[in-house]
Symmetry: C2
Subunit: 180 residues, 2 copies
């Protein structure tokens, strides 16, 4: 055995991205942190990208957990607000991980992980946004996109420049999508 090293490499990457950002995730640095030589990761991950994808996967799980942790009020507006705040809060608190999770190159072979992570989010959004509509899935996807776009804008500081913040934009997005 064992895939002990495999897990150790992933957690080393998770720590690294939290401490030093998504730019510090070189293969050799992760190996160094895990206490092995630079060739060792290759036994578990064929390529650097695969290791990064595995690290991003725990990001998806953490985001899912955070979104699931909220308890439904029953009132759509309050629930949407709580959900959106969880999402935006994650993008703020785990910024490096969030960047990693949605890197273009990584999403190539990883989009099924994204889908798996966003499926529960989707179901909740469908319940909250359009319980009877035939296009409820489209509405949920569009709101998802809105949420993600707000997170992005907030992350690279384009919002303070305009004189607003992510929470205010979340409110106006909810207003827009809730006016049935």
């Amino acid at each position: 055995m064992s895939d002990d090293l495999r897990a150790r490499l992933v957690t080393a990457g998770v720590e690294l991205v939290a401490e030093r950002g998504s730019g510090a995730l070189s293969l050799r640095e992760i190996a160094r942190r895990a206490g092995v030589s630079h060739g060792a990761p290759r036994r578990w991950f064929p390529t650097h990208r695969d290791l990064l994808a595995a690290i991003a996967r725990v990001g998806y799980e953490r985001l899912s957990a955070r979104l699931a942790a909220r308890e439904p009020h029953g009132e759509p507006r309050a629930d949407l607000l709580a959900l959106g705040r969880s999402y935006l809060g994650f993008s703020r608190d785990e910024r490096g991980m969030f960047e990693l999770m949605f890197r273009h190159e990584l999403l190539r072979g990883n989009q099924q992980d994204v889908r798996a992570a966003s499926r529960p989010l989707f179901r909740v959004l469908i319940d909250l946004l359009g319980p009877g509509r035939p296009d409820a899935d489209k509405v949920a996807a569009a709101f998802w996109a809105n949420l993600h776009g707000i997170a992005q804008l907030g992350m690279w500081g384009s919002l303070e420049v305009i004189g607003t913040n992510a929470d205010a934009l979340l409110h106006t997005a909810i207003d827009a999508y809730l006016e049935h």
Copy 2:
């Protein structure tokens, strides 16, 4: 003279990103394409990041031009649709450039360029979305975020998986933001 080389390096980068994607923009490859040694760019751009930022800047200009090219119909819904399609079309046609333009590391010192590029877009959005509202700027920003999020989702193929497409999501976003 001359800042001839400066311009040549930028256009070399623009060609390169169009042909081989945003991952092919190494400093040395750009220099090679411009026909100079790998040390030459340093005279004009202190660092690799600065060169990339200059390349992204022509992307901002192209996007602005594309958005400005549309002629207003006068009808908000049709105008929003045309505007959104221009944005989404750019993200599809100039994918590598679009990725480059919104890279996290680049936007550090470049966000004023983003702002300059998005200012005209903003004004149009304010006119179309909420001509009389006090929170018109927030509505415009939120719709901007929605548009951008849709472009992102479309780019990494998450939409076909759900069984929809960017244009359909654009329609539902417009529906949401145009109700009242």
